[in-house]
């Protein structure tokens, strides 16, 4: 995998030959305190490193804590135990070097597409006129040049995701976190958005953590696919490399033989977890403390 120059490594984690990982989760446990006084351990003992330039997908059965993991990397959620390192430094508070693409609509409905993208530059102190210019440029890049003055409710689901993508990328974050961003979209739109994402990402290859429940999407997009076990106390059960050539077209790549082989391998381990999750079924909510 071709990696470009990375930020200077800090002393301390010298063991990693290729410098500090963009995101390093070490022994992360996350336990939720429920309203009724009970506890729910979502994930347990997670060790995961995502290096700069790497596109890593996280797949797993529903409710296995994939999003929880992403929130920990974003600093939206503090782990109950373990460490979160960002480029070799322990994370405290929000992760200022990351951008986050949410599954649900996260645009401000009272702002137009342009204003929504522009506002992302305000915390960085970019002057108004430059912000306007850059926001228009980004909206053009995601194919919304003629939609700048539309309010979110006037846009389709796919178009709103494009605005969110522009809003996130305009800040040029070093780490991209995406939580099933194309989940609510229809199949065709997902494919178009997938290709758009690959196109934008391949220009400057940031570290990217992509949560999805769609294995095909995960393989088509990523360099690595991480499989999580069924919750509660979900962990990582497998970590696969996807050695498919880039640039890829995510519609075409699904037809290739190599794709099928990788798919078969990963599905073999994912299927066990999906079945476990189904077997627990509705009982999952009733699980009180830590089972293991």
């Amino acid at each position: 995998m071709a990696l470009q120059d990375r930020p200077h490594a800090h002393a301390g984690s010298g063991a990693v030959s290729s410098g500090d990982p963009a995101v390093a989760l070490g022994g992360v446990d996350i336990t939720f305190h429920l309203a009724d006084g009970g506890r729910y351990q979502a994930v347990k003992g997670i060790d995961l490193k995502v290096h700069p330039g790497e596109f890593v997908s996280i797949v797993g059965p529903t409710g296995c804590g994939k999003s929880t993991l992403l929130n920990a990397a974003a600093g939206l959620l503090a782990p109950s135990a373990g460490s979160v390192g960002i480029f070799g430094k322990p994370l405290s508070g929000l992760n200022r070097r990351a951008g986050y693409l949410f599954q649900q609509d996260a645009l401000m409905p009272w702002k137009t597409a342009l204003e929504n993208v522009k506002v992302a530059l305000e915390p960085m102190g970019v002057p108004e006129r430059e912000a306007d210019l850059r926001a228009r440029e980004w909206l053009g890049r995601v194919g919304l040049r003629t939609f700048v003055d539309r309010y979110p409710h006037m846009l389709s689901g796919g178009q709103r995701k494009r605005v969110s993508l522009a809003q996130m990328l305009i800040r040029n974050p070093e780490i991209l976190l995406m939580d099933e961003p194309f989940g609510p979209l229809d199949a065709q739109t997902r494919q178009i958005m997938g290709n758009l994402l690959l196109d934008l990402w391949s220009r400057d290859r940031k570290a990217l953590m992509f949560v999805t429940h769609d294995l095909e999407e995960a393989i088509a997009l990523s360099d690595r696919v991480v499989v999580m076990s069924a919750g509660p106390a979900a962990g990582i059960v497998a970590d696969y490399k996807v050695d498919l050539p880039r640039p890829r077209d995510i519609a075409d790549i699904r037809l290739e033989k190599a794709f099928h082989e990788i798919h078969r391998d990963i599905w073999a381990s994912l299927r066990v977890e999906v079945q476990k999750a189904y077997a627990m079924g509705e009982g999952r909510e009733l699980v009180g403390g830590d089972a293991s």
Partner: protein
Amino acid sequence: MKRMKLISLQILVMLVFLAIWHVVTTTSLFGDVKTMQFFFSTPGAVLARTFKQLTGGDIYYHLGITLTETVLAFVIGSLAGILFGFAFARRELLSAVFDPYIKAANALPRVVLAPIFALWFGLGIWSKVALGFTLVFFIVFFNVYQGVREVSPTILANARMLGMNERQLFRHVYWPSALTWMFSSLHTSVGFALVGAVVGEYLGSSAGLGYKIHEAESVFDVTGVFSGMLILAIFVIAIDALVTMIEKRLLVWRPAQSSTTTA
């Protein structure tokens, strides 16, 4: 075509109403004409009086007074409502402690406060503004409180991830959200500001529309009472149209839907 039909039907309702009123008060079918006219006046007399008043200058002085009171009650009530709504929404303890008192105060029929306000603020405009204030304040307060509390957690988390500080969050997220809720109750709060003003005037004052109606009533001038009510209705419709215009301007970003109101 449909619209024309609707408007003609609406006009028909008015004509039938006026015709019945006219027949009841100018013929002896339902009793003595003099007695009927004493109690109900006649549509002709009311319209004539209204026309005379609207073409004279005196009524505009009274309208001006009522308008001033309404605007003051609305502005002061809204400002206080926004301020307290924000404070209570962001400070859990504050809202928890004051919750029963706010509920109790809101449950009180505001009319009983009118004499007290007349005592405190005199018979001038301020006792009416105070009465309108107590009505407007709670509507705006509850809406702003709700607006701040019900900001979508995703929008908030997204704004935080974009690096916004507290001030920027306020400006781009909390404030617009609270305003939305406030504007959705704009018709109600403006209406209540007017109710406060007119009721206050009615109960004790020397100027304003409520005073005009009360004055006519005290000399058994039924024509004057109805004429005052008609002018009040025209006034309310005009203000409401203005509010609708402002609302459309400010809430362009919203999908078309019926506005929610808290009464």
